[in-house]
Amino acid sequence: MGVSRLTVFWVFHLLAMAVLVAGCWLRVSIWLEGQIDGRAPAGARRALVASWRFVRRVGWRRVLRAFIVHGLLHPRLRAGDRRRWQAHACMLGGFAALAGLSTLTGFAQEILIGLFRVDHPLVRALANKDTPLVALLNEVLGLIMVISLAMIAARRYVRRPSNLRTGRPDTVLIVLLAATLLSGYPTEVLRLLAEQVPAEVARYSFVGYLLSLPLRSVRWPWEALHYWVFLFHSLIASAFLASLPFSKLFHAAVSPLVAAANTVAREAEA
């Protein structure tokens, strides 16, 4: 444990982010080989100009409305299968909110406090995982994602609608997501035990706290265990993020754009 777990995490996380950006660029570079107004390759500049003109022509409000309604809320999905829509919305919403919260916490901890030595109650509260609101949000959002993942897995492997095609990439993705989400709980349990977080503070991480209760009286090297489990959890989460542009989960970034553009184009045509 000579190297700080956060140092290992950041090195790996930054590498993962570099892979994520490179992967996204690879995907976008393929799109840019396509044509715009009959001319190919489109290139980044022409694509941006064409997008800007499109938005100007149809209006920002219309595009924004289509993006929110059809790109994020998916009424067609809701009309087709309410349960599937709920699972999808919980996964998407939970992921976005949890990613946002983690980014804020990381930013407050590493940049504002670590780099700029900011000493403000709000920043301290945000950087502290045991702040009641932060702890509660992390726990609730994680739980929402776990439940939605269970619903998704049940649909793929138990209910199995005849039109659904489940291949190896789907299984790999579900396993990776499950490992990322579920490893969060032992990590939290071990953190509460290693840092001996008092019950009145720990209870806001209600799942982790409940799981830690039977272990409170056990004398194990919690700090060392936390080190390795934290690394496993954070490294697998980073690997999951890095794999996004190479997996089918990339649709989460592209489909809202396509849904918005095609809805607006169709409305304009009508």
Binding site: G23, L26, R27, I30, W31, L32, E33, G34, Q35, I36, A40, P41, A42, A47, A50, H70, G71, H74, R76, L77, G80, P161, S162, N163, L164, R165, G167, D170, F246, K248, F250, H251, V254, S255, P256, L257, V258, A259, A261, N262, T263, A265, R266, A270
Partner: protein, 406 residues
């Protein structure tokens, strides 16, 4: 041999659509041809997955680091079969949760395959027919007005004479006797109403739709330019069609090909007649029958015309209109679209049989469409199945109701 996918054959948006596909399989449940042939490469998800795989093998990370992985002849032939088994009905577009504009994507796939030399032989024959005779039947184009030979009154205005209203008959109505009743009915309706019109007669060339959807868009350009010039020469203010595919091509493709507005209105006969009925100018007598309406793909989903034909049917006294289980945006295809009837008549017939069964479920005496190809495909299916169901076009019913009124 490794055939490389040509990304320039797709628009940026189409390449994004390939990545936007979530593989949710919603389209699979609605694909009319997959319901019949159960081949994984036929349904939308299968086609998108195969094209994406093809692209990734040539442009993905592994390909860039370690070299391209070739796509074999057999894989390409299989992909071609899937792409050309599609009726281009666009039902998948209506159900796709992320709104992928599927039909243009399928056509772009066909264009690429045609360019690579994978055009099915049946479509090569169709291409040759059109190139030689300017019609899909490959017959002498001078015989285009053959459908009017048995009319009690020949069109008052000789074909080809200047007129404000031009009736673009379409290849199927002009060359296939099973569909002759369509132009005959519309002609008699217009004559009865005293509306002057002209046809292009032998000057009418195929609208180009069969070539466009076969992936041979460039071959259609000469047809487009010829037809536009011929209609403009008549000083037309309106062009009316009874064929939804001609309508769609005239409305959407023609202005894009010639690079300017047509300068005249393009309407489907159902729109024109519904307007006349609403204005009280269409004398309709009783037609005491139960009918069901089949939405043609190119009239409904791709041209957005769902209500005009229904309004027209409801305006007929005594007629009871019953909807089929799948109607309007989700209407099942008749099986005659996408050049599938030319390439795989068995598949086309199977889809038609399913649609006919849906019509029979309603208890209707007749299935009414507003498309010459739907009428032809469904009539053939009804004959084969010995169904107690008449297959009619909207204009035929309107003409019968007008005759009953007098």
């Amino acid at each position: 041999m490794s055939v490389q996918p040509k990304l320039s054959g797709y628009s940026v948006r189409q390449l994004m659509e390939l990545d936007a596909c979530t593989r949710c399989g919603e389209c699979v449940a609605w694909c009319p041809t997959f319901a019949e042939n159960r081949q994984e490469l036929t349904h939308p998800l299968g086609k998108i997955a195969r094209l994406r795989d093809w692209i990734v093998r040539h442009y993905g990370l592994r390909a860039r680091l370690f070299g391209r992985r070739p796509v074999g002849e057999e894989e390409l032939a299989e992909y071609t079969r899937g792409v050309y088994s599609c009726t281009l009905c666009a039902r998948c577009r209506e159900v796709c949760p992320v709104h992928i504009d599927t039909r243009p994507l399928w056509i772009a796939m066909r264009e690429q395959l045609a360019e690579l030399g994978y055009l099915p032989s049946a479509l090569s024959a169709l291409q040759a027919n059109i190139a030689r005779s300017y019609n899909i039947a490959g017959e002498d184009n001078a015989g285009r007005a053959g459908w009017s030979a048995n009319l009690p009154d020949q069109p008052a205005r000789p074909a080809g004479q200047p007129a404000g209203l031009v009736y673009f008959v379409g290849c199927v109505s002009a060359f296939y006797p099973q569909a002759y009743a369509i132009p005959q009915s519309l002609t008699q309706i217009l004559q009865r109403l005293g509306i002057e019109f002209a046809t292009l007669a032998a000057d009418e060339w195929c609208c180009g739709f069969p070539l466009l959807i076969a992936g041979l868009g460039r071959e259609a350009e000469a047809l487009v330019r010829h037809n536009v010039a011929a209609v403009r020469a008549l000083g037309a203010h309106t062009l009316v069609t009874t064929c939804p595919s001609c309508l769609h091509t005239w409305r959407h493709t023609y202005p894009a090909v010639i690079g300017e507005p047509l300068g005249f209105e393009v309407r489907h006969a159902s729109e024109l007649l519904a307007e006349l009925a609403e204005a009280g100018r269409l004398p309709l007598g009783p037609y005491p029958h139960v009918v069901t309406y089949h939405d043609p793909c190119d009239l409904g989903r791709t041209s957005g015309i769902y209500e005009a034909p229904r309004q027209l049917l409801r305006a007929i006294p005594g007629l009871e209109l019953r909807e089929m289980r799948d109607n309007r945006q989700l209407a099942l295809c008749c099986g005659g679209g996408g050049d599938v009837e030319t390439g795989d008549p068995t598949l086309s017939a199977a889809v038609a049989r399913r649609r006919l069964a849906q019509a029979a479920e309603t208890g209707a005496e007749a299935i009414v469409s507003a498309c010459q190809q739907c009428r032809r495909t469904l009539s053939a299916a009804a004959r084969r199945e010995k169904a107690r169901l008449r297959v009619l076009d909207l204009v035929e019913i309107v003409w019968q109701a007008m005759q009953a009124a007098s």
